[in-house]
Amino acid sequence: MAMAQDSKLKRAAHWADVRGRGLGMWAYVLNRVTGIGLVVYLYIHLVVLSMLTGGPAAWDPFIKVVRSPLFLGLDVVLISGWLIHGLNGLRVTLTGVGLGVRAQKAMFVGFMALAAIGIVAMALLVFRS
Protein backbone atom coordinates (compact mmCIF):
# COMPACT_ATOMS: atom_id res chain seq x y z
CA MET A 1 0.00 0.00 0.00
CA ALA A 2 2.24 2.78 1.22
CA MET A 3 4.79 4.18 -1.14
CA ALA A 4 8.01 5.01 0.66
CA GLN A 5 8.98 8.62 0.88
CA ASP A 6 12.28 8.19 2.68
CA SER A 7 13.84 4.99 3.96
CA LYS A 8 13.04 4.15 7.57
CA LEU A 9 16.59 4.95 8.59
CA LYS A 10 16.37 8.39 7.01
CA ARG A 11 13.02 9.02 8.62
CA ALA A 12 14.35 7.94 11.98
CA ALA A 13 17.02 10.62 11.63
CA HIS A 14 14.31 13.31 11.43
CA TRP A 15 14.51 13.79 15.19
CA ALA A 16 17.81 15.61 14.81
CA ASP A 17 16.47 18.20 12.33
CA VAL A 18 16.12 21.40 14.32
CA ARG A 19 15.77 23.84 11.41
CA GLY A 20 12.91 26.22 12.09
CA ARG A 21 11.87 24.24 15.16
CA GLY A 22 10.75 25.61 18.52
CA LEU A 23 12.59 25.72 21.85
CA GLY A 24 11.09 22.45 23.05
CA MET A 25 12.59 20.65 20.06
CA TRP A 26 16.02 22.05 20.93
CA ALA A 27 15.58 20.79 24.48
CA TYR A 28 14.69 17.33 23.21
CA VAL A 29 17.64 17.14 20.82
CA LEU A 30 20.01 18.48 23.49
CA ASN A 31 18.81 15.87 25.95
CA ARG A 32 19.20 13.07 23.44
CA VAL A 33 22.69 14.16 22.32
CA THR A 34 23.96 14.62 25.89
CA GLY A 35 22.31 11.31 26.81
CA ILE A 36 24.16 9.45 24.06
CA GLY A 37 27.41 11.12 25.06
CA LEU A 38 26.90 10.18 28.69
CA VAL A 39 26.15 6.51 27.90
CA VAL A 40 29.36 6.35 25.86
CA TYR A 41 31.25 7.98 28.73
CA LEU A 42 29.75 5.55 31.25
CA TYR A 43 31.08 2.52 29.43
CA ILE A 44 34.47 4.11 28.73
CA HIS A 45 34.72 4.92 32.43
CA LEU A 46 33.82 1.36 33.44
CA VAL A 47 36.38 -0.09 31.04
CA VAL A 48 39.09 2.31 32.24
CA LEU A 49 38.42 1.28 35.84
CA SER A 50 39.54 -2.25 34.93
CA MET A 51 43.07 -0.88 35.06
CA LEU A 52 42.76 -1.15 38.82
CA THR A 53 43.18 -4.91 38.44
CA GLY A 54 46.74 -4.18 37.33
CA GLY A 55 47.56 -2.84 40.77
CA PRO A 56 49.47 0.37 41.53
CA ALA A 57 51.87 -0.27 38.63
CA ALA A 58 49.03 0.12 36.14
CA TRP A 59 46.82 2.61 37.97
CA ASP A 60 49.14 5.27 39.40
CA PRO A 61 50.79 6.30 36.09
CA PHE A 62 47.29 6.56 34.61
CA ILE A 63 46.25 8.93 37.38
CA LYS A 64 49.17 11.18 36.50
CA VAL A 65 47.96 11.36 32.89
CA VAL A 66 44.43 12.20 33.94
CA ARG A 67 45.62 15.22 35.89
CA SER A 68 46.75 16.90 32.67
CA PRO A 69 44.90 20.03 31.42
CA LEU A 70 43.50 18.11 28.43
CA PHE A 71 41.71 15.63 30.65
CA LEU A 72 40.58 18.33 33.03
CA GLY A 73 39.09 20.10 30.03
CA LEU A 74 37.29 16.91 29.04
CA ASP A 75 36.00 16.71 32.58
CA VAL A 76 34.40 20.11 32.18
CA VAL A 77 32.74 18.90 28.95
CA LEU A 78 31.46 15.90 30.88
CA ILE A 79 30.12 18.06 33.69
CA SER A 80 28.38 20.26 31.11
CA GLY A 81 26.69 17.18 29.71
CA TRP A 82 25.49 16.15 33.17
CA LEU A 83 24.16 19.56 34.08
CA ILE A 84 22.32 20.07 30.78
CA HIS A 85 20.91 16.55 30.73
CA GLY A 86 19.98 16.54 34.40
CA LEU A 87 18.32 19.94 34.53
CA ASN A 88 16.45 19.43 31.28
CA GLY A 89 15.49 15.96 32.52
CA LEU A 90 13.98 17.60 35.56
CA ARG A 91 11.86 19.74 33.22
CA VAL A 92 10.80 16.65 31.21
CA THR A 93 9.82 14.84 34.44
CA LEU A 94 7.79 17.75 35.78
CA THR A 95 5.96 18.55 32.54
CA GLY A 96 5.62 14.84 31.91
CA VAL A 97 3.25 14.46 34.82
CA GLY A 98 1.43 17.62 33.87
CA LEU A 99 3.18 20.05 36.21
CA GLY A 100 4.31 23.41 34.91
CA VAL A 101 3.37 22.64 31.30
CA ARG A 102 2.45 26.22 30.52
CA ALA A 103 5.85 27.34 31.76
CA GLN A 104 7.85 24.72 29.86
CA LYS A 105 9.71 27.22 27.67
CA ALA A 106 10.56 29.46 30.61
CA MET A 107 11.64 26.39 32.54
CA PHE A 108 14.00 25.40 29.75
CA VAL A 109 15.58 28.85 29.56
CA GLY A 110 15.85 29.07 33.35
CA PHE A 111 17.36 25.62 33.76
CA MET A 112 19.87 26.16 30.95
CA ALA A 113 20.91 29.42 32.59
CA LEU A 114 21.42 27.46 35.83
CA ALA A 115 23.40 24.90 33.88
CA ALA A 116 25.61 27.63 32.42
CA ILE A 117 26.32 29.01 35.89
CA GLY A 118 27.01 25.50 37.14
CA ILE A 119 29.41 24.80 34.27
CA VAL A 120 31.41 27.95 34.96
CA ALA A 121 31.50 27.18 38.70
CA MET A 122 32.61 23.60 38.12
CA ALA A 123 35.22 24.66 35.58
CA LEU A 124 36.74 27.03 38.12
CA LEU A 125 36.70 24.32 40.81
CA VAL A 126 38.29 21.77 38.52
CA PHE A 127 41.08 24.00 37.27
CA ARG A 128 41.78 25.59 40.63
CA SER A 129 42.49 22.38 42.54
Partner: protein, 121 residues
Protein backbone atom coordinates in the same frame (compact mmCIF):
# COMPACT_ATOMS: atom_id res chain seq x y z
CA UNK B 1 0.76 -12.04 24.40
CA UNK B 2 2.42 -11.11 27.67
CA UNK B 3 4.26 -13.99 29.25
CA UNK B 4 5.01 -14.18 32.95
CA UNK B 5 8.55 -13.01 32.21
CA UNK B 6 7.21 -10.06 30.25
CA UNK B 7 5.02 -9.12 33.18
CA UNK B 8 8.11 -8.84 35.34
CA UNK B 9 10.39 -7.07 32.89
CA UNK B 10 7.75 -4.80 31.35
CA UNK B 11 4.69 -4.57 33.63
CA UNK B 12 2.89 -1.82 31.78
CA UNK B 13 3.56 0.44 28.81
CA UNK B 14 4.32 3.32 31.14
CA UNK B 15 6.91 1.44 33.23
CA UNK B 16 9.83 2.64 31.12
CA UNK B 17 8.88 6.27 31.47
CA UNK B 18 8.33 6.15 35.23
CA UNK B 19 11.50 4.17 35.93
CA UNK B 20 13.46 6.63 33.81
CA UNK B 21 12.02 9.56 35.75
CA UNK B 22 12.62 7.94 39.15
CA UNK B 23 16.22 6.90 38.38
CA UNK B 24 16.79 10.35 36.92
CA UNK B 25 15.68 12.05 40.12
CA UNK B 26 17.74 9.60 42.21
CA UNK B 27 20.77 10.34 40.05
CA UNK B 28 20.62 14.03 40.86
CA UNK B 29 21.49 13.05 44.42
CA UNK B 30 23.66 9.99 43.74
CA UNK B 31 25.74 11.74 41.10
CA UNK B 32 26.38 14.68 43.41
CA UNK B 33 27.41 12.30 46.20
CA UNK B 34 29.65 10.31 43.84
CA UNK B 35 31.32 13.46 42.53
CA UNK B 36 31.94 14.91 45.96
CA UNK B 37 33.19 11.64 47.43
CA UNK B 38 35.42 10.82 44.48
CA UNK B 39 36.83 14.16 43.52
CA UNK B 40 36.41 16.71 46.23
CA UNK B 41 37.22 14.70 49.31
CA UNK B 42 40.36 13.05 47.96
CA UNK B 43 43.54 15.10 47.89
CA UNK B 44 44.14 16.52 44.38
CA UNK B 45 40.72 15.15 43.43
CA UNK B 46 42.03 11.74 42.32
CA UNK B 47 43.04 8.68 44.29
CA UNK B 48 46.09 6.56 43.64
CA UNK B 49 45.81 2.78 43.93
CA UNK B 50 46.30 2.51 47.68
CA UNK B 51 43.77 5.27 48.32
CA UNK B 52 41.21 3.58 46.04
CA UNK B 53 41.50 0.31 47.95
CA UNK B 54 41.14 2.06 51.31
CA UNK B 55 38.16 4.03 50.04
CA UNK B 56 36.34 0.97 48.70
CA UNK B 57 36.95 -1.06 51.86
CA UNK B 58 34.44 1.17 53.64
CA UNK B 59 31.15 -0.80 53.45
CA UNK B 60 29.04 2.34 53.34
CA UNK B 61 31.02 3.53 50.32
CA UNK B 62 30.66 0.20 48.55
CA UNK B 63 26.92 0.20 49.16
CA UNK B 64 26.42 3.70 47.81
CA UNK B 65 28.67 3.16 44.79
CA UNK B 66 26.79 -0.04 43.98
CA UNK B 67 23.48 1.77 44.26
CA UNK B 68 24.86 4.45 42.00
CA UNK B 69 25.98 1.89 39.42
CA UNK B 70 22.60 0.13 39.37
CA UNK B 71 20.73 3.43 39.05
CA UNK B 72 22.92 4.93 36.35
CA UNK B 73 23.00 1.70 34.32
CA UNK B 74 19.20 1.45 34.48
CA UNK B 75 18.77 5.05 33.42
CA UNK B 76 21.34 4.80 30.62
CA UNK B 77 19.93 1.61 29.12
CA UNK B 78 16.34 2.86 29.34
CA UNK B 79 17.55 5.86 27.38
CA UNK B 80 19.14 3.64 24.76
CA UNK B 81 15.89 1.65 24.61
CA UNK B 82 13.89 4.84 23.98
CA UNK B 83 16.17 5.85 21.12
CA UNK B 84 16.11 2.39 19.55
CA UNK B 85 12.32 2.21 19.83
CA UNK B 86 12.09 5.45 17.87
CA UNK B 87 13.33 3.52 14.83
CA UNK B 88 9.87 2.01 14.41
CA UNK B 89 10.40 -1.63 15.37
CA UNK B 90 7.77 -4.37 15.29
CA UNK B 91 6.25 -5.46 18.62
CA UNK B 92 8.28 -8.70 18.84
CA UNK B 93 11.46 -6.78 17.99
CA UNK B 94 10.72 -4.30 20.79
CA UNK B 95 10.36 -7.19 23.25
CA UNK B 96 13.70 -8.64 22.13
CA UNK B 97 15.42 -5.26 22.53
CA UNK B 98 14.00 -4.90 26.05
CA UNK B 99 15.25 -8.36 26.98
CA UNK B 100 18.68 -7.73 25.45
CA UNK B 101 19.07 -4.48 27.36
CA UNK B 102 18.08 -6.16 30.62
CA UNK B 103 20.91 -8.59 29.86
CA UNK B 104 23.40 -5.80 29.21
CA UNK B 105 22.33 -4.15 32.45
CA UNK B 106 22.82 -7.28 34.52
CA UNK B 107 26.25 -7.83 32.91
CA UNK B 108 27.26 -4.23 33.59
CA UNK B 109 26.33 -4.35 37.27
CA UNK B 110 27.91 -7.81 37.55
CA UNK B 111 31.13 -6.40 36.12
CA UNK B 112 31.08 -3.59 38.68
CA UNK B 113 30.58 -6.00 41.55
CA UNK B 114 33.37 -8.27 40.26
CA UNK B 115 35.75 -5.37 39.81
CA UNK B 116 35.10 -4.03 43.31
CA UNK B 117 35.54 -7.45 44.82
CA UNK B 118 38.80 -7.99 42.92
CA UNK B 119 40.22 -4.74 44.26
CA UNK B 120 39.24 -4.90 47.89
CA UNK B 121 39.98 -8.53 48.72
Amino acid sequence: MATQADRITAPAPSWGWFLQAITGLALVVLLAVHMVAQHFVAAHGLRDYAEVVAYLRNPLVTAIELLFLVTVTTHALLGVRAIVFDFGLSDPAEKRVTWALWGVGVLTVGYGVWLTWTIIR
